[in-house]
Assembly symmetry: C2
Homo-oligomer: 281 residues x 2
């Protein structure tokens, strides 16, 4: 129940949750940056399309990454838990410089991947320097604690959110996606009220954070990222309130960060650009 | 562009903004407390039904207050600016121990009452100890700066909110109402980004704050109150961003306060009850 320490091993790969609706974007700046990070024309990218049953989801992203100049792109078509032990899939993952988890239903991801050799290998590869990106459900699954469902709305109740175990690439944050588009601040606030060691990160569609090995992140894309920092939280009644009751939460620090802004998850400090006011940039 | 000083003159009347949907409530605890503050069976209450064209709105509240034991209740049926100079209305107001402004359209209220003898008299009476309550549009109109329109959603853009002058009973806060029900955090955040000397107060339906003469308030009702405190705000891009762009706002303090909680607008401190955590109650 404490945040993971900022990983200062510079060999860890980036963690790149994306807020969804990515494939609709004409100007794929986020995926472009991901491909460049992974080595550009030397990038070897494995796509995990498991979150959806849609057959062409893997192909959609393999052609996108190929179009952006990646050297080798492969979709591993995991449909059931036993697929997660296939030697050819594990060896493809092992060759990757980047892993991309596409969107759909995060509970499908967690129930198929959870605890399997594929999940363990993704964690190990990320720790060893392989970059992992995911959009929508693929973003939600990344941390240790995943928002698996909930209600929309600005303000929280005890029932606003349900949590499940995720991939565990980080235990500093809990992620919500399609954030502005689906009015999810209430459920993110409920999530951090339940677990005030986590920083809540709400990511708009077509927007991503690039979490660097030192546990700082930068924002990229057309929307914004909402950070709810409970490190100074003084009180909450979420544990005692009735299921649909209004609850108390005091002393949350809130930041809304547009493209180009940065946030340090260790020190809980926001750094923005393009502002007429005093900034620590 | 600075907050009004906490009024420490104990003779000022309470300011009681209510988040709307009040007349649907079977158990009118908020109105009961208002009638008691105004003197109980000695209360003389004037209703201002101007925010709506609905003919029986004044009668609805006069019968509610009469049912709660008020001694004398009168609705002044202001429909146009010239009504705001009527001697009988001004003398009714002058006899009141409490004034109640019902809901509808806050721009109708501000354009009919603004700058008239009725508006001036309400301000003077409140300064002299008469309590003023208002629900929905009647709540929005109370401060110097009123939210007159905007878009719903959790996160702000420059276009999220439009502001107009209000009655000016306080310049410490800007109010939004039907808060949880209409997802209005984004527009409240935009309002305080534009005017970071104000504290944003979002009031749920069937919920009220009772602002005491010392500029502290308590929460009463079935919903919650969302306080957004920009006193430590570090940066915002609201002045430079394009109209529908995502904007930066950093270091906002956020509190969600259920019934029984208190907030000090002078020191920006929240005090909650019923919590298992450390609280300054």
């Amino acid at each position: 129940m404490t945040p993971s320490r900022g990983n200062t091993d510079s060999d860890r790969g980036f963690i790149i949750p994306i807020g969804g609706a990515l494939s609709k974007q004409k100007n794929p700046v986020i995926l472009e940056k991901f491909v460049n990070l992974c080595g550009g024309d030397k990038a070897v990218i494995t796509v995990i399309p498991t979150a959806t049953k849609t057959e062409d989801n893997g192909e959609l992203f393999t052609s996108l990454f190929t179009g952006l100049g990646a050297s080798d792109v492969f979709s591993i078509d995991i449909k059931k838990r036993s697929d997660c032990s296939r030697g050819d899939y594990l060896s493809k993952l092992g060759e990757s410089t980047g892993i991309f988890i596409s969107g759909g239903n995060q509970l499908r991801l967690s129930t198929i991947l959870g605890g399997t050799p594929v999940a363990k290998l993704i964690r190990r590869l990320n720790a060893d320097g392989v970059h992992v990106a995911g959009t929508s459900a693929g973003a939600a699954i990344m941390p240790e604690h995943m928002i698996s469902g909930g209600h929309s709305g600005s303000t929280p109740t005890p029932r606003s959110v349900s949590l499940s175990p995720g991939l565990g690439l980080t235990n500093s944050i809990v992620i919500d996606q399609h954030f502005r588009q689906r009015n999810r601040l209430g459920r993110l606030l409920a999530a951090i009220a339940y677990s005030p060691f986590l920083t809540g990160v709400g990511i708009d569609e077509n927007t991503a954070i690039f979490i660097e090995p030192d546990n700082t992140f930068s924002v990229k894309g057309s929307g914004a990222v909402t950070v709810v920092d409970p490190s100074k939280m003084n009180a909450t009644s979420v544990s005692t309130a009735a299921r649909n009751d209004a609850i108390n939460i005091t002393d949350i620090r809130l930041h809304i960060l547009a493209s180009g802004s940065k946030y340090d998850l260790n020190t809980h400090t926001a750094m923005v650009m393009d502002s007429g006011m005093d900034t620590p940039v």
